[in-house]
Subunit: 288 residues, 2 copies
Amino acid sequence: MSDRASRRTFLQTSALAGSGFLLPDEGAQAQSAPPNETIKTIRSLRSTHGNFLDKPVPEPALETILQSSLRAANASNNQSYSIVVIKNRQMMKSVCGYQGGCVLLYCADYTRLKVCAETMGYNYDPGTMEGFVTASTNATIAAQTAVIAARSLGIDSLLTNGIHRGDMERLWKLLELPQTHCFPIIALVLGYSTEPGQLKGRLDGPGVIHSEKYHTLTKEETGAIILKYDDKQRNLGLNDDWAAKGHKHYLDWFFKDWMRVGSKPAVQQETQILRLLKRTRFVEEPKA
Amino acid sequence: MSDRASRRTFLQTSALAGSGFLLPDEGAQAQSAPPNETIKTIRSLRSTHGNFLDKPVPEPALETILQSSLRAANASNNQSYSIVVIKNRQMMKSVCGYQGGCVLLYCADYTRLKVCAETMGYNYDPGTMEGFVTASTNATIAAQTAVIAARSLGIDSLLTNGIHRGDMERLWKLLELPQTHCFPIIALVLGYSTEPGQLKGRLDGPGVIHSEKYHTLTKEETGAIILKYDDKQRNLGLNDDWAAKGHKHYLDWFFKDWMRVGSKPAVQQETQILRLLKRTRFVEEPKA
């Protein structure tokens, strides 16, 4: 896609319409701030789904990406995360299902703080769901900062929760993660993409951006969203052959074939993530 | 702080040392990629703790920040988040404890998708801890993208979990959030800082960055980390008067006075976050 077409797609798909305070599609270009280099970098973000060259990320670039990642804000400056840098290609695949120049595994992690506390004689227990939410937020903020830094250096990326697929216990075994108070949140694959550049669209307007209070979607707005996903110009979907597969709407494909909502039991089994959050002591047990 | 001093602090504090593959402090400048505008923007990130001018964020800038935020990657392009834009100053304060030019509240949110599914006749239940982790990650990635976009436009910010303090139910009441499958993750205060610019340092090296596998801290490394927090040149702490307050190390102040580890009961009570994750149906109940 040319720069011009790419820019047009960005403006079409990210113009914020319909909530009153947000701009109509037509006005977005005129009303936005002029793009600087950072905004251009962000506009060019796209995920590479596995098609990376077998080429490492140069050390100076990786160093800059890691430095940038650490600059991200975090609660109380306690950096309750760990970053495992994986350059072994087989390990990348085993960890997240993808291979690239390298993988950065971001974990919510209180181990370092706990070890310091124990060394100093304190009994520090961050093992609560509150602790998990804080630490996973810290880890994710750092991960996205790395994504943007990498993109500015011409390095493509994929943020993937592929680590949460399959038997997650493999992560503890393969990477020798601490048994408690450490939980892998997201893997960042960095490298050089061989995929053709096509920016995905994004849904905007009602149901995504809310003004002052949460806005409950009307029937009309809901219908409009369903049709937006069908509009190939907007490029919101994961595929564009849903009609050929016999679906009336893209979201029929999404719910039926992708999310498989019909074939799942109505009563939830415990997810692996909840089971492992319990095992790693991030789900506190209230007193009876 | 001058640009030069600011840059020196960045290099001192973010040089990655000690894990073998990472560079020693002295070499960081030489070995890093030359900074471009985006890297410079990231290097200049700092949190403003409440001292924002009473001055709104201009609409074109806010539009660009929101557009940028939406560009962030998300799982299956289902954008399982909502962004509530708050411009009412009293509401900002009630929601997150801070006031600025505006507040963007990022929520993990499946409501839009659920409403579409129900309209189309599907019984879609994303209410699991797995669904929560995915959606909260999506929301946080979008939030940090907004932070970096804002900074590039000269707009300061604070990412705060102040929303999780006090009675969190206020958020559902004040903002009319959906009762299920919607959970506030982080608030982003945007505006113009009046605080003197001082970049916080970041811990790096062993215990933060791991090479290929998780590295368990040695006694020596743990001792070195404790001393790093004491080193005022590194600016890692939340204050620098911990010694005057009678503490031997910064981390004594951190664990005793800030985390108050001694005064908390050993057995955990259920945190508000866990209770509300249950109420919003993000904690699945396994069958007995």
